[in-house]
């Protein structure tokens, strides 16, 4: 899973309380807490990234022999490279749109709903995501098989699918993976957004109501702008996770007895080049490509979304 953190704006009240404590002791405790994370980050984040960078600019068997961009150019010209990035781009469009629209819709509904049933629904939304990662993908392999699925009537009468292979035809794959990723990951985000919405002070909502805002206006004009930063935060993490898609195509590939290409996504291609071709340098080059794409997208979102600005 992803190990990135973005610091969210700290509510003012918490900041004021911190200043009142004994400064020295607090700092030391703070460093102690952070140090564990920093150590993990170094070991499992920074060092592997540095190693990947090193590998991507060198050649196998020749330590510290710089080859410039040659690994990037060679993998870029590989016949599998463009299709893989094309697949992931289409997938991301479906997934991110689905994620933002449905998660926000459900979270706003939940927040505007009857208070008594909120915990029950929050739990329901979270449930599919609570199933451990790859297990839920395996569940989907059955859900999508018209001959086994409990939803076979929908698959056969609405979509006219009679066998699994039709469901996972190459053109459907981005949507299929987006649907799987959505149902395995969206629940957690609904809970996060719900938490963000709960942070909005009652005073603001009450004054909006007194001013005559209806439920729709309240949701889109008042609540949505106030949780914009959480949406940007979700997008950054979802984008980075989405570009690294690997579990879904591998598992659906083996469930379909090999009908999904082993280099469908860029991460799969990198994995294939490292394991099946034994070329770690090419694999590192593709990983660095992905890192670059993720960083650019994050930078755009951070600066356009003004994520780090204090209100």
């Amino acid at each position: 899973m992803l190990t990135e953190t973005i610091s969210l704006p700290v509510p003012e009240r918490a900041g004021r309380r911190a200043r009142r404590g004994r400064a020295g002791g607090r700092h030391r405790a703070g460093y102690a807490f952070v140090s564990i994370y920093v150590m993990m980050l170094l070991l499992f984040g920074v060092v592997p990234t540095a190693y990947a960078l090193y590998l991507s600019f060198t050649e196998a068997g020749k330590p510290w022999h710089w080859v410039g961009l040659s690994n990037f150019l060679k993998t870029g010209r590989d016949f599998r490279f463009l299709p893989a990035f094309e697949h992931i781009a289409i997938y991301l469009v479906f997934w991110l749109v689905m994620l933002v629209v449905v998660v926000l819709f459900l979270a706003l509904m939940l927040h505007g709903g009857v208070r008594r049933v909120v915990p029950a629904f929050r739990f329901l939304f979270y449930l599919p995501g609570a199933l451990a990662g790859s297990a839920s993908v395996v569940v989907w392999a059955f859900m999508l098989d018209p001959q086994l699925s409990p939803w076979h009537f929908a698959l056969s009468s609405i979509f006219h699918f009679s066998v699994f292979a039709q469901v996972i035809a190459p053109g459907h794959l981005p949507v299929v993976f987006a649907v799987i990723a959505f149902w395995t990951g969206a629940g957690g985000w609904i809970v996060v957004m719900n938490g963000a919405l709960n942070n909005i002070s009652d005073e603001i909502i009450d004054s909006a109501k007194i001013d005559g805002a209806n439920a729709m206006q309240l949701a889109f004009r008042v609540k949505l702008p106030l949780i914009k930063k959480w949406v940007v935060y979700m997008l950054i993490l979802a984008f980075a996770a989405g570009t690294q898609l690997i579990v879904e195509p591998i598992l659906i590939g083996s469930a379909s007895l090999g009908m999904v290409s082993p280099f469908w996504s860029p991460n799969q291609l990198a994995y294939y080049l490292a394991t099946y071709d034994g070329n770690f340098n090419y694999a590192a080059a593709i990983s660095v490509d992905l890192l670059f794409v993720g960083l650019v997208a994050a930078a755009l979102l951070v600066f356009r979304g003004k994520l780090f600005e204090l209100e």
Partner: protein, 426 residues
């Protein structure tokens, strides 16, 4: 979903290990070969084996390549002997950056090599160097539901054309029954290799002949087109699909497929269809009308590979173990498929026939079919079955004709071959 570290999902479990002795030989086998290794070491207690189970590189997942590549980086950790389920693995491992298998030409006595069935060792050849020993053969035969054929009033076909005629009659008179499957990743070998189609033929080192317009390919595709359309050889039928038994129980009139379908698909406990004893029988590979020589496809058959990182006495000892696992009766009698080593095959097939599961003895058909594997369909660094499953099967299921897919397959092969440094001619 994403994962940070891609470990490959291969778990290695030591079965029993004798730590650190220089004479201990490390053997990696898949679960199917574990009983063979255990039986052999029990019969040969002077050898100390460290038997490790892994997935055997199943379905081209590259687990052997991955482990060898990692061992190459650190300079230790290679297995001494490894079993591969993938028939083309030596064509990967025998080349840079892996350079893993030991050359066996001078390590294994020629008296042993001469006892292999014709063509059995061809997947092990890297140029003129022998780099593995074959475990089992995987030639295709014609599997027939004998009582059902009688009931429908058909005689067992001997040519592809007769087989086609029966298919058209089955589609008209007994819809829902099938005479073959087109949904397997290895359907290319079952049909195109049997037709002597030059689509994946390595003619010299780094030189591939691949011609989708080869009349042999075109004729077989034309023969299959109507059967695909009328449902007697459906593109959606895959013997290992999750619903094959449910859909086709009692409806597989005939099937063209490898020798190991015997107890994997048709008869006996644990087989896909688990038909009543005496239902299915094996018949010789079909010929092309007008030709006397039948050719057949090759679908699998495992490989025993020896590490090139061994030296001196250790190397010779490991070579002895390799030969023992691949050829001895104590090991091969437990083989899941028809052994490639002829003396072992004789004793193996006698046991199969004694089981009484099949409509007629398998031995006579297997003896005819074993040397009929067509050598013009090569083992290549790319996984030709995988290419068929990824590029062709989805189109067939969507309704494309087999003929239209020859060029699709050829272009997939071309891309991979060129990327692996091959010159491709048509």
């Amino acid at each position: 979903m994403s994962v940070m570290a891609t470990g490959g999902g291969v778990s290695f479990a030591a079965v029993h290990s004798q730590a650190g002795q220089s004479s201990t030989i490390t053997v990696w086998v898949d679960s199917g070969r574990l009983p063979m290794a255990k039986a052999w070491v029990k019969a040969n207690p002077s050898y100390k084996l460290d038997i490790v189970t892994f997935d055997g590189g199943a379905n081209g997942d590259g687990s052997i390549e991955e482990k060898v590549a990692l061992a190459n980086r650190v300079g230790h950790g290679w297995p001494d002997i490894v079993f591969s389920e993938e028939q083309n693995d030596v064509q990967k491992l025998g080349y840079p950056p892996f350079n893993f298998p030991a050359v066996l030409n001078n390590l294994v006595p020629s008296s042993v090599l001469n006892n292999y069935a014709a063509g059995a060792l061809s997947p092990c050849m890297v140029g003129k160097k022998l780099e593995c020993l074959r475990n089992d053969l995987a030639f295709d035969v014609l599997w027939v539901n004998v009582p059902l054929m009688k009931q429908f009033g058909y005689t067992v076909p001997t040519t592809w054309q007769q087989w086609q005629t029966i298919g058209e009659s089955v589609a008209a008179n007994h819809p829902g029954y099938i005479i073959g499957a087109l949904g397997d990743s290895y359907s290319d070998a079952v049909y195109l290799q049997a037709a002597q189609c030059h689509l994946n033929d390595v003619v010299a080192a780094y030189s591939l002949l691949s011609n989708p317009n080869d009349p042999n390919c075109v004729n077989m595709a034309d023969l299959l087109n109507p059967l695909e359309k009328d449902g007697s050889v459906p593109a959606s039928a895959n013997e290992f699909g999750s619903t094959f038994a449910k859909t086709y129980d009692g409806k597989v009139l005939m099937d063209v497929g490898p020798a190991w379908y015997s107890t994997a698909i048709f008869e006996g406990k644990g087989s896909v269809l688990n038909a009543p004893a005496g239902t299915y029988g094996a018949y010789p590979p079909l010929t092309w009308a007008g030709s006397k020589q039948a050719w057949t496809g090759d679908v699998g058959g495992g490989l025993w590979i020896l590490s090139s990182h061994l030296k001196g006495a250790q190397l010779q000892a490991a070579a002895n173990v390799l030969v023992g696992l691949a050829t001895s009766k104590v090991s091969q009698n437990l083989s899941q498929g028809y052994p490639g080593y002829v003396p072992a095959a004789k004793s193996w097939i006698a046991e199969q026939d004694a089981s009484g599961l099949f409509a007629s003895p398998l031995s006579s058909t297997f003896a005819i079919a074993a040397p009929e594997v067509w050598p013009g369909w090569s083992q290549t660094p790319w996984d030709v079955f995988g290419l068929w499953a990824q590029n062709v099967t989805p189109n067939l299921i969507a309704g494309s004709s087999v003929s239209s897919q020859l060029s699709v397959m050829a272009s997939a092969i071309l891309n991979n071959a060129q990327s692996d440094g091959f010159q491709v001619t048509s």
